[in-house]
Symmetry: C2
Subunit: 336 residues, 2 copies
Amino acid sequence: MSEINRQILLAQRPVGEPGPEVFEVNEAPVPEPGNGEFLVKVLYNSVDPAMRGWMNEGRSYIQPVQLGEVMRAGAIGRVVKSRNDHFREGAYVSGMFGVQHYAVSDGKGVIEVDPSIAPLERYLGVLGMPGMTAYFGLLDVGQPKEGDTVLVSGAAGAVGATVGQIAKIKGCRAVGVAGGQEKCDFAREVGFDDVVDYKAEQAGKGIKRACPDGVDVYFDNVGGEVLEGALARLRLNARVVLCGAISQYNNADSLQGPRNYMALLVNRARMEGFVVFDYAKRYGEAAQQMAQWIQEGKLEAREHVVDGIDDFQKHLMMLFRGENFGKLVIKVQNDD
Amino acid sequence: MSEINRQILLAQRPVGEPGPEVFEVNEAPVPEPGNGEFLVKVLYNSVDPAMRGWMNEGRSYIQPVQLGEVMRAGAIGRVVKSRNDHFREGAYVSGMFGVQHYAVSDGKGVIEVDPSIAPLERYLGVLGMPGMTAYFGLLDVGQPKEGDTVLVSGAAGAVGATVGQIAKIKGCRAVGVAGGQEKCDFAREVGFDDVVDYKAEQAGKGIKRACPDGVDVYFDNVGGEVLEGALARLRLNARVVLCGAISQYNNADSLQGPRNYMALLVNRARMEGFVVFDYAKRYGEAAQQMAQWIQEGKLEAREHVVDGIDDFQKHLMMLFRGENFGKLVIKVQNDD
């Protein structure tokens, strides 16, 4: 085992897009687990839009990452030394271990995962947070009914592609919005009935074309013009699920609200935010259901794996530039 | 009876604020009721923020007023000639009779009102649409719980003042937002616990001061900065009731959406629109409850009565300039 723990620290708070100066590679000694703790060798890191919010100072649903701290990230790893009765050496675990090679944990928020059921990286995708987000956001907040038109932005992303597939499973018409030919092809491949390429046509026009009878549920991952285009096409009693606003996260000075939000009034519709952590007690239910759908061939999972944490800033920017297909995951190191 | 029917027609579609050129005074013969119809002598017209929307072309919850048509308006009148079995001569009735001295109706959407229970103009206020709007918007959409902080904009208006009072009846803390000393005094008088004068202090700062523990229900009549200020102070699982956006109705080119709408996500909150007409079947229940509260001295009703329809445009602008205290009503003519 290497005695060095390679880490990515938050060195500065970004203004707008996080540049290379925002992060710093650090080498620290591999920590020793104390009583009740265990040491995890981190194998995969999740790269998520929410990371941008964690870098900002100020009130949100979770504390910001402090300057000089290891960048927060979901991860999968293997327990390599344990002084905790619940997590034995050799177990594979999922937790917020951060962007680093080794982490010590007391087991809080950590769950064991089974590499015989699915490849490890999938536990950061459909069987992890993005999957949970899609499941509870669509089913609990969006409440789709059979025959509804469900519109999803970020349709080629980890969350969006899953939302579209669950919508199809539930008997809805699924329409995706994505940027560029390749992502649209990907969205069609996973099962969307129609796709709007916002780089090829104005989002609002595309949504009107693809949803001629309007939108019953809009699952919003992006905000901005796509949100406005969706609001303009709401049906009576429509539900807008606010999951993210990636188009706005790096927008330092002129954050845009949806100018036509009063469409909610005209259509007796609602726009509702949610945070997946609130559903933690029901993750088991969702994971079981998703695993079953995967087994039945109804739900396709795909991960986009990139290599090494040293390029963490570049990996993160891939996400904001929309260069990933499916769940973006960093392979941190070999499992040896 | 005068043989002339004086009317206000929509002559042009306004861009921004409706100027005097938008309306036209017209004289027509008093119409004759056909079989199943009756003739109403209009006594009071309601002046409502929603009128601005009715003047625009295009899709909304109700058809726009056509050019050359009598301006749509809620009204109270007396049946002066009847060929309809349900509405006898001499009955006082409430309906959408328009801004004119006489109207013929087939009884659709018309209800009889009782001048012995309350003055006629009150049936355009607390016992009419504004009252119904306050009642269903707050109780059904906002779902306030005892101890909640309920924030209400347009707190000196017909709807807002009633929302605040119902919130108090339900055991909530009621905080109002209004413009200017007089309106704030009025809001305090009807029972708001605290009031923010957005002309004296920045709305967001005032809301923070007056709602130190945050906002559970925000009843929005105005949109704009006040909506943003409220969003910034939402508590977990808060409800934003979209009732109107009077600050934006005359905003021709640069409608503003709430830039911090993602507060809905962070706080797992929802923003929901409603249209009072959807509750038509339950108006009776609400009117009965409101009448009881008035009788018990828990609910104060106030109307602001102005004279004559010839100045309709000026009366309407009073509303947008926030010059009315309580429900704005036009006395159309004497009941003789």
